[in-house]
């Protein structure tokens, strides 16, 4: 069977969930060969093997952390040249998309970004994309070269499928461009203990209606009662009430959870672009005319400061 390269997103050897989803999707097209780079790359092997990687190509070097994007492109290129894969799959993070695009250009291929599903087709893998703020669903494929496709988080349910996962050291020669952009400092984001926004099964978001940084405690309490991640609208972020990394929407994260709760958010097109594909949508807004209500499965017209604490209390009570 054809081999499919899967770029591994990991933190010091801990494989992030979107990569496991990629391995699941990759198996529909061929045998996954995982590429893990940087500190802790070798530690990813067991998890990757458990999820279907027939081979794990690893390479550790300081360059991956010290310079932006290009060293990873060099490595993926090296992996591509020894594997001759049927496709290359990369998680759809900001960096993942840049790596994928540069690789595609180097190997003379096309690139598709932000696929939400992937299946085998007569003319190569077919990607499903959700476009124009989720107003359309498209089917597309790469028509020249080895398909390079980035896939959004939450696009597939992770299914373990034990495979050999033989670890091999990848031989990488860095290009002249590799050291072009130096990372002079890095401040890791502090963990909140809550699930990762793009990976969470439930997201609770607050908007301008929350009216103050301190009031976000109301949103957080609901999120914690549901084991959810916390999101925010750009209005709330721009006001400085919540960090930009929690912004949901066109220029923030796009999320597709099982349940999305919007409190004090009007539902502007740019916000909808980031949450419209959520399975179940719930909104609390005091304006019955707010466009968010066009999307909801269940909406409460009311003051969030009344509704949200009551909801939280009820959930906590039900959970006993």
């Amino acid at each position: 069977m054809a081999e499919v390269l899967v770029y591994v997103d990991h933190a010091d050897g801990a494989v992030r969930k979107p990569t496991l989803e990629l391995l699941t999707l990759a198996r529909r097209i061929g045998d996954p060969v995982a590429v893990a780079l940087g500190a802790g790359a070798g530690d990813t092997a067991a998890t990757l093997a458990e999820h279907g990687a027939v081979r794990v190509l690893t390479h550790e070097a300081a360059e991956y952390a010290d310079y932006l994007v290009v060293p990873k492109v060099d490595a993926l290129r090296a992996a591509h040249d020894i594997v001759s894969p049927a496709a290359v799959l990369v998680p759809s993070s900001a960096e993942g998309k840049e790596i994928a695009a540069r690789l595609a250009l180097r190997i003379g291929s096309g690139v598709i970004t932000d696929a939400i599903d992937l299946e085998a087709g007569d003319q190569g893998p077919v990607a499903t994309q959700s476009v124009f703020a989720a107003a359309y669903t498209t089917k597309s494929r790469v028509s020249k070269g080895t398909p390079v496709i980035t896939v959004k988080p939450n696009s597939a349910a992770v299914e373990p499928a034990p495979a050999a996962g033989a670890v091999e050291a990848l031989d990488v020669t860095f290009s002249e461009q590799a050291t072009g952009t130096k990372v002079t400092a890095r401040t890791p984001r502090e963990s909140t203990g809550r699930p990762e926004l793009t990976e969470a099964a439930i997201v609770v978001s607050g908007g301008r209606g929350v009216n103050g940084a301190e009031n976000f405690a109301v949103i957080e309490a609901l999120a914690d009662s549901l084991g959810a991640a916390v999101g925010a609208s750009r209005a709330a972020v721009d006001a400085g009430w919540y960090p930009h990394t929690n912004q949901v929407g066109q220029t923030g994260k796009s999320v597709s959870p099982q349940l999305y709760v919007a409190a004090g958010i009007s539902g502007a097109i740019q916000h909808r672009a980031g949450m419209q594909t959520s399975k179940t949508i719930v909104a609390i807004n005091k304006d019955a005319e707010a466009p968010i209500f066009e999307l909801v499965d269940y909406g409460v017209v009311g003051d969030l400061f009344d509704v949200v604490p009551q909801l939280t209390e009820e959930i906590v009570a039900r959970k006993g």
Binding site: R141, G180, R186, L295, V301
Partner: protein
């Protein structure tokens, strides 16, 4: 010293309008108004700020690849304060994908001459967020992308990139390709004076032959990617909406329990 900045700006269908696909599965541009991609306003803004903070002579050129109407996007950028504009327009460009677009942009940037290219973080139609990286790859210069803060000093560009896992400080020698996010600073509104002045600023038009790009490297037929189908997402079925009369939270909890979320 002088600094030549080229800002890439895209002409896109208005996101708040009703966007559709045409029969050939490219963007239908006839049924919806076009405008300068809002995220490219941030790129123009940063170019202007770099110019204002610089002791050097800074020349800002805005560049677009797009149909006739794309001139509107250039005019907007000129009225914000850019010095001149380049419009790459050619019938053979219809349906070009990201790989092809980056080829045309790279050739145009090289022909224009540059020390710094500034792009938006993503377009508001394709929203791929890959063109700046592709441009850097093609030009063989550093990419310093997704910056929420940017400055240029002594031939070096510095910036801050807020990633998912960490905030990074980046640095590269010019020439370089930069992209900026909507966190980089509110874009200015064109003043009346700016709008009047823009009418007199030069807009050059180039076609593929001016750039030594073959027609078979671009366009729908030659694209590296193919769209096989597009379906409009079915409208959501109307949900239940209740008015809070003291029990709204509990009613919502009941709904969530019924859906097995609690």
């Amino acid at each position: 010293m002088s600094l030549r900045i080229v800002v890439t700006v895209k002409y896109v269908p208005d996101a708040t309008g009703d966007r559709h696909f045409a029969d050939d599965l490219t963007v239908d541009r006839d049924d919806v108004d076009g405008l300068l991609s809002e995220l490219d306003e941030y790129a123009v803004e940063q170019a202007l700020r770099i110019s204002e903070n610089s002791d050097d002579d800074v020349e800002i050129t805005v560049l677009t690849v797009g149909p006739e109407d794309a001139k509107d996007a250039l005019r907007k950028a000129l009225s914000m304060g850019a010095d001149k504009a380049i419009h790459v327009e050619d019938d053979d460009l219809h349906g070009t994908d990201a790989i092809g677009t980056s080829l045309v942009l790279a050739k145009a940037v090289e022909k224009a001459g540059y020390d710094l290219v500034i792009s938006g973080m993503a377009s508001t139609d394709g929203t791929m967020g890959v063109v700046p990286a592709l441009l850097a790859e093609r030009l063989g210069v550093p990419q310093v992308t997704l910056l929420s803060e940017v400055s240029v000093e002594d031939g070096t560009v510095k910036g801050r990139r807020d990633g998912d896992a960490a905030t990074e400080r980046l640095e590269a020698a010019l020439p370089a390709v930069v992209s900026v996010t909507d966190q980089s600073g509110e874009a200015r509104y064109p003043s009346f004076k700016g709008i009047m002045a823009a009418k007199k600023k030069p807009v050059e038009s180039w076609d593929l032959s001016d750039l030594d790009v073959d027609a078979d490297e671009v366009g729908l037929e030659n694209a590296w990617t193919t769209v096989d189908g597009a379906t409009e997402r079915p409208a959501r079925t109307a949900g239940t909406i209740v008015k809070d009369e003291g029990e709204g939270g509990r009613q919502l909890a009941e709904f969530l329990a019924g859906q097995k979320f609690v």
